[in-house]
């Protein structure tokens, strides 16, 4: 698997500083799980953070701070260890890497899809109050995604199958960053349904009237 489409340097930088909102960070982190090259880039940015921390002029801690922390270590030690994963258990092959699998509540077989029409389906992952929406989309092999433009940014990360539009071909691990100017009509590649994570910061605007009406009910 060779990843051809990566997040922009700006996205990786904002992920590494901690500036990105959770839904964007989810898309970037999931891409990083599949992409050692972008992980290395993120580590470089984090190293800048490390050097700013190291260079910070120390400010004295309040009285009792140290003692309070030391006292809490006992509680931490009493808790069960954070991660125990048996090395003997067979390694399942997941379609959804972490951290996405955690947000989806399991791998693709666990997902409760809701029909979008035309055979496509979605599952919304983010809380309804959030301004940014993360969703999983499933587009049947060979079928188009309804034509749409964005009022804001859209990140699309492919997890299974592939899609193509006027900007290129996207397969597992590839991430498309689309802004408001891009009017595109992605089409899933033949052979396998395309499953992707899509994050948007504003409602998508569909060109045809019917999908626009449906938008209200489907929260696209």
């Amino acid at each position: 698997m060779t990843i051809m489409h990566h997040p922009s340097e700006e996205m990786i930088f904002d992920y590494a500083t901690g500036a990105l909102d959770e839904a964007w960070a989810l898309a970037i982190a999931t891409h990083l799980s599949l992409c050692p090259a972008c992980r290395a880039a993120a580590r470089e940015v984090e190293a800048i953070g490390g050097s700013l921390l190291e260079a910070a002029v120390p400010t004295e801690m309040a009285d009792g701070s140290y003692e309070a922390v030391m006292a809490r270590l006992d509680f931490v030690d009493a808790m069960p260890p954070a991660e125990v994963r048996s090395i003997t258990e067979p390694k399942p092959s997941y379609v959804l890497p972490e951290p996405l699998r955690q947000y989806a509540g399991g791998d693709v077989s666990e997902i409760r899809w809701r029909a979008l029409g035309g055979g496509a389906a979605q599952c919304i992952l983010s809380p309804p109050s959030s301004k940014t929406v993360a969703r999983l989309l499933r587009i049947p092999a060979g079928r188009p995604v309804p034509e749409h433009s964005h009022r804001g940014t859209e990140l699309t990360l492919v997890l299974a199958g592939a899609f193509a539009d006027s900007t290129g071909h996207y397969a597992r691990g590839d991430l498309q960053e689309a802004d408001a100017d891009l009017l595109h009509q992605p089409r899933a590649a033949e052979g396998e349904d395309c499953i992707c994570l899509a994050v948007t910061d504003a409602p998508l605007s569909f060109r045809a009237l019917l999908p626009r009406l449906a938008q209200r009910y489907l929260r696209i």
Partner: protein, 181 residues
């Protein structure tokens, strides 16, 4: 000093050594407090996040990998995550290297593993040597966890200017990391 940091981390991870942890606390807690106060946090809140961070350093010490990051870089990431959880009440999504779906890093060369702390030292001088205008945007981005767009809005600069300043800063730092010791 940096050899000490790595050794203390190793002792905390392997031996649950509280004396080594005390040394890490003495080194990092006052720096973390300054760092967090630069973001405008009240001293009391900064203290809380520092305490959270140091507890997590203890709890997650086994996840620290000296072949991947300098100690200060790793502590920065722990603090960043503590801050996101404390102030924004959000989770921090991160890759999990133990996940079967995780694409592993290419095997490091024999020399690579021992050089993270040396890299960090070179990197600090590179950050110090950045032109004022680049330092300003980079510091704002880190200290206040501001996105490119938010930095541009704060400084009333075009987004493109902020992008190019940060990009130049990252390139210089990358070049410094790549230089032979």
């Amino acid at each position: 000093m940096t050899e000490d940091l790595t050794e203390w981390m190793r002792r905390v991870a392997k031996d649950r050594d509280r004396e080594a942890f005390s040394n890490l606390f003495a080194h990092f807690a006052p720096r973390l407090k300054s760092y967090l106060q630069r973001s405008g946090s009240e001293p009391l809140e900064a203290e809380e996040v520092v305490q959270e961070t140091m507890i997590n350093v203890w709890r997650k010490a086994a996840l620290f990998d000296p072949s991947k990051a300098a100690v200060s870089t790793w502590v920065f990431t722990v603090a960043r995550n503590a801050r996101i959880s404390h102030f924004r009440k959000q989770n921090r999504p991160e890759p999990d290297p133990t996940d079967p779906a995780f694409a592993p890093d290419p095997t490091p060369g024999p020399l690579e593993a021992v050089t993270r702390e040396q890299e960090a030292a070179r990197l600090r001088s590179a950050v110090d040597a950045l032109p004022e205008e680049q330092q300003l945007v980079v510091k704002l981005a880190f200290f206040e966890e501001k996105s490119h767009a938010a930095v541009a809005a704060e400084l009333k600069l075009p987004l493109g200017t902020v992008k190019s300043r940060i990009r130049l800063a990252v390139q210089r730092v990358r070049a410094a990391i790549g230089e032979p010791a």
